[in-house]
Amino acid sequence: MTPLLEARELVRRYSMRRGMLGRPVEVRAVNGVTLRLEAGRTLGLVGESGCGKSTTGRMVLGLEAPDEGDVQFEGAPMPPPGSLPWRRQRARMQMVYQDPLGALDRRLPIGVQVAEPLQIHGLPADATRVHALLRQVGLRPDQAERYPHELSGGQRQRAVLARALATDPVLLVCDEPISALDVSIQAQVMNLLVELQQQRGIALLFISHDLRAVRQMSHRVAVMYLGRIVEEGEPDAVLHDPAHPYAQALVSAIPDPTRRGNRIVLQGDPPNPAARPSGCAFHPRCPLAVSLCARQAPALKPRPGDGRLVACHVAQGEAAPMRKAA
């Protein structure tokens, strides 16, 4: 079966300049990401802040062109940006952003903004349709008249979700879709997304820092570190028994109401995409790193034994772990 979405070896570089006269430095925001997503399924994408999740999301939607690699949607390459087929395709894939205030136009009431994609794609955009969309995400029809700054953070995020759902998309890239919502509304939105997925077969790329939410939503989970996927598998496999040392650190830091204080904090400097460490990008902070890790970048491949996809020499049994003193 052709997957709905297939991205191969995506690379995205930005250049960053220090000062007016500084030499531009290359930032490799995404450095070889391969992923596939079937219709009606959810891939959870987690990882360190700044590791390239949002950039990956923008590339799979064709909002930003990769510098290397390619994206296929329903087995065909992305049409050129701006063309008619591209616009038609855009209606079928939508993004829900991390920062709802930035995603909304502060000069327009939200009802107008929910109607906008309907008008752009020539769909009926009357008040009834807009109100139905607002209700679907738990907003009241009267709130259509409100401006973004007149809504709470969570209400704004629901408006963004209503707008994304307007054109009946088959693919939704959700970039931190629930982080602005309280737990009870988060639960409502997650239930809603799962329900919509089951009714309409929507595929979700679910980017989140909330590992509980990722477990709840996903069929598969991919863990990113500094522009690459370092582990991928079933949610419970990855979240209960992570194989990659970064994934282990991530899982150990999940906030837990029943635990107080003393969480494991990663040592070492946060990674700098402008100066990728040699070999495995995680090795300077890795408690298990051996000399091989500094020399050679590990490939993402099935681990002998259980076939878990992991990019780590130690987890693959290619090197014996070395325990550093704590």
Partner: protein, 332 residues
Amino acid sequence: MAGAALVEIRDLAVAFDRTPALRGVSLSIGKGESLGLVGESGCGKSVTWLAALGLLPGKARVTGSVRLAGQEILHAPPATLDRVRGGRVAMIFQDPASSLNPVHRIGRQVTEALQLHRGLSGAAAREEARRLLDQVGMPDARRRLDAYPHELSGGQNQRVMIAIALAGQPELLVADEPTTALDVTIQAQILTLLAEIRRDTGMALVLISHDLGVIAETCERVCVMYAGRIVEETRTERLFAAPSHPYAQGLMAALPPIHGPRRPLAAIPGSVPEPWAMPPGCAFAPRCPRHVAACDAAPPPLVAVTPGHCAACIRPGAVSARAPLSPELLPA
């Protein structure tokens, strides 16, 4: 406790276009204390602090009292408020990308705060800005001083906001969702940093967050808000062990589990009542599994259920049993 309060808020009420958003909130924070604020989206957590610091638009009608170390700051002259904000009391806002100025480099935005509140300028300010960015875990801080907000990731912008807030060495930091855009390892790093600063400087912290785990690990005391009021207040471990208000109990039940079978989440049914059509009694009554006729008589006052544990409920305590939702909503 009342005598030692750093900030004392009494009967704070806010209305927009005659529609009440905050309906009488009273709370106090002692020197060096950490207080968590949780509650339904739209219940007034942000507005409480925007009102207290004089940051709401002119059309907002604000009443009540806010005292900082005994001095009234509500409706204080702009010059007084300018000195308080970012100085004695700093606030990290929700929506980091939109609170930063998009046309200025982040280094300039941090050094401006250092100039304003600590009189630093030139190379000293720049060096201190770099140190602050390092401290909040910004990779390659020196070079990122010259970056614009759009050149940073969501979490990196959030860390810039934290650095700006810490620039004035505040006595109270009001952090509105400070770690929502951050992954759990950086979040752990920021929370550890805030704990260290609190230990070293005695800074008090108000943490507004939807993440109950973060609140549990960071705060000594919690207030749960619903529809513009505080409905429960107690020590943190007590809230998690024995929530009393049915809304607080609902929040605990809605948290997705990290172990065990995946089921549709126990979302609290319904939504917050329209602000202009508030029920005559308890605002949570229409959604409450323990609702009885007496709940509709008047809004229940916040009273002690046990010493140091208050709830605004006439039938506090009993754990609610909620029917599980239909199991077909599971991810397969």
